[in-house]
Amino acid sequence: MVLAATVVWIVAAPAAAQGVPALDPSAADQLRAALGGKWVERQFPLTLTSGATCELRVWLQPDHAAHADRIADAAREALDQYSAWFTPYPYDRLTIVDVPWQSPEVAAGTAGVVLIRARWLQPERSLTLEAQVARGIARQWWGTLVTMPDRYLADGLAEYAHSRTLERIFDRRHQRINYSLLETRWFGGLVPWAIRAARLDRQTTGINRPVFRRNPAIDLSDRSAAARPAQMAKSAAAITTLERYLGWPALQRGLSAAARRYAGQSMTAAMFFEILGDAADRELSWFVDQAFGQSSTYDYAIADLTSVADATGTCGAGPCYRTTVVLKRLGEAVFAGTSLPPVGPFESGRALEIEVRFADGQRSEDHWDGRAAEKTLVYHGPAPATAARIDPAGILLLDVNRLNNSRTLAPASPAASLSWSVRWTTWLQDLLLSSAVFF
């Protein structure tokens, strides 16, 4: 990864980080004065892995003083990682301001100032506090060091970057590769509980995929505040899709090149994707235009799977089965893998993988350019199919419905559904008894 990053540095980002926005040393103090109230100050001299030092100041609400060490730990991790992935942190100080918990919205902060909104009670295994710190620090690069007129892209990059950092923090603290535990809040949102069984994953909940799932066709050009969470989630899902498609080293090269090239300058989405494509040595307009340029949605499905004995089949000695897999594109967007058009009957692109499993343990792997509304694959073999999946590796995180991505002929193991239904039945019994308060 280090070698690759060096290559990009030479090829795509010749300019040093110049014109870095000036740090206003009084910005945090002015903000505190504007917000009013009492504050607790803590200072942490940080030494990053690279040897660089940074003076961290944390301004906290009086009832949040106990969170100072957690905030400092998250800040150290975020500064360390982002400095390694993007460019070194351009300032020698960072101030984190914990705005009052009832503030309607946490703004993006300014150069050297990160705003968070901590809560009084924060379970140790739920990293919602660390998420705010990591997200805010990511904005020091995306939106501050590199000014970005396309708000959704800055938000998406910060969301994506923070999810990677949180995974590292959770791993370091709990020896598990997760993003966080699911946090639920009771008593008007004042009492939290981290559900130990509900471990969250970076590439799904970590990039707020539930929000994207509910708003897959959000218009990225909408400037309203209400649209922002969904835009951020869609943008982060698209960037994570790029990570899964190109690989992290290629994406990291692109991010590093963009941060270095446009430090202190304005970078549009078009500029970002151009430099990303150069760094990955791939042409990406086939994806970028649809994922970021339109409100269309991706939805691929296995529409049908049949496997029948075929007396006329040519499988040699023994039985022969004819397996038919029908693939459908239900959304308007196409995940092809290239912008080159198909030539005659030949597809162009192989971004979508189709996996078919057979009863004798064999496994077939095919590819599809995903352009046609429907495609049928036919297999002849000595065993019937048991299951078919489209995009089995889950690369296309923008697929709005992944429940229709697989189909199975063999009876599925009841273990998972049984444990879910047992949990739900117990919950329902308890709901009945809670309602019995009124009987």
Binding site: G37, D63, F187, W193, I195, A416, S435
Partner: protein, 314 residues
Amino acid sequence: MLTLRTWFSGVWRVVCAPSALLVLYALTLVVAVPLGAWMQRSLPAPGVPDLVAANDPPAPDIDWLDEVFVHGPGPARFLTPAVFGVAAPIGNLDAVLDGSRPPLPLLTPIIVFFVCWTAVWGGVIARLANGARIGARAAIAASRQSVVPLLVLGAAGGIAYLVLYLTLHTALFGPLYDWLIAGALERTAFSWRLTLTAIFGGVLLTLGQVLDFAKLAIILGRATVPQALNDGVRLVRQQWLAAVAFLLFNGVGLAVLFAGYAASEFIPGGSVPSLWRLVVGGQALILGRLLLRLVLSGAQVDLYLRVRAQRETT
């Protein structure tokens, strides 16, 4: 002293009547298990394993759960993270205090459960009051005799609760709470919410006690609904100390039960338990809650009988 004696007597009445516990437990199963089985059949295949980090044992896939919630068929859409461990009972209790109703389709099993509960409640109370076995026929007769007035009382109680939520709850947790916590620290807001919850909970539980004693008057005193309500109010007013103490004991019992259930998550393997642990732990919780409910009713029965005996002697 009388309160404690009455409460222990209530406990003893329940210990001597395991059939009452079993009947109510069977009711929860009869209503919930068919829906659980329907839920199991409707659940789609689990999610894409590659998206979820490898854990041993495999943890539930929360993204798949959300996918099912949004795109899943039929009852699968009622599956939410609220079902996990101790979050389930506390979440349900919080919903009661918060005045948030369950999804509309789930009101149907709740109403069915209310009707079934009311139908057997006469027999359950008769059994607790008798202190010894009364036989199925006598229990059914007691239930049959009281079911209609109990349903009427339940409907009247339902309206009273609704009015309480629409007026007092809305006022306390709406403008008043917002005004109290404006600009306050979160821990101050917590104190205010605790205070308001105590006020609302106190009124809610007082109404519940009145209705409980009214039910006893219907079942054991053969009173009409208005008479029973009158008896209930009088009894709670005269014996308010005992009534409060019963609720406190019950609250402590519930807290211990929830704490035990929560602690089971911290036993190795408890955060992602095996199927048998899920079943045993969950059903132990349900039985524990039913037991607490019956102990409260047993103590109320004992108090009601003592007061009635005193009144008859004077």
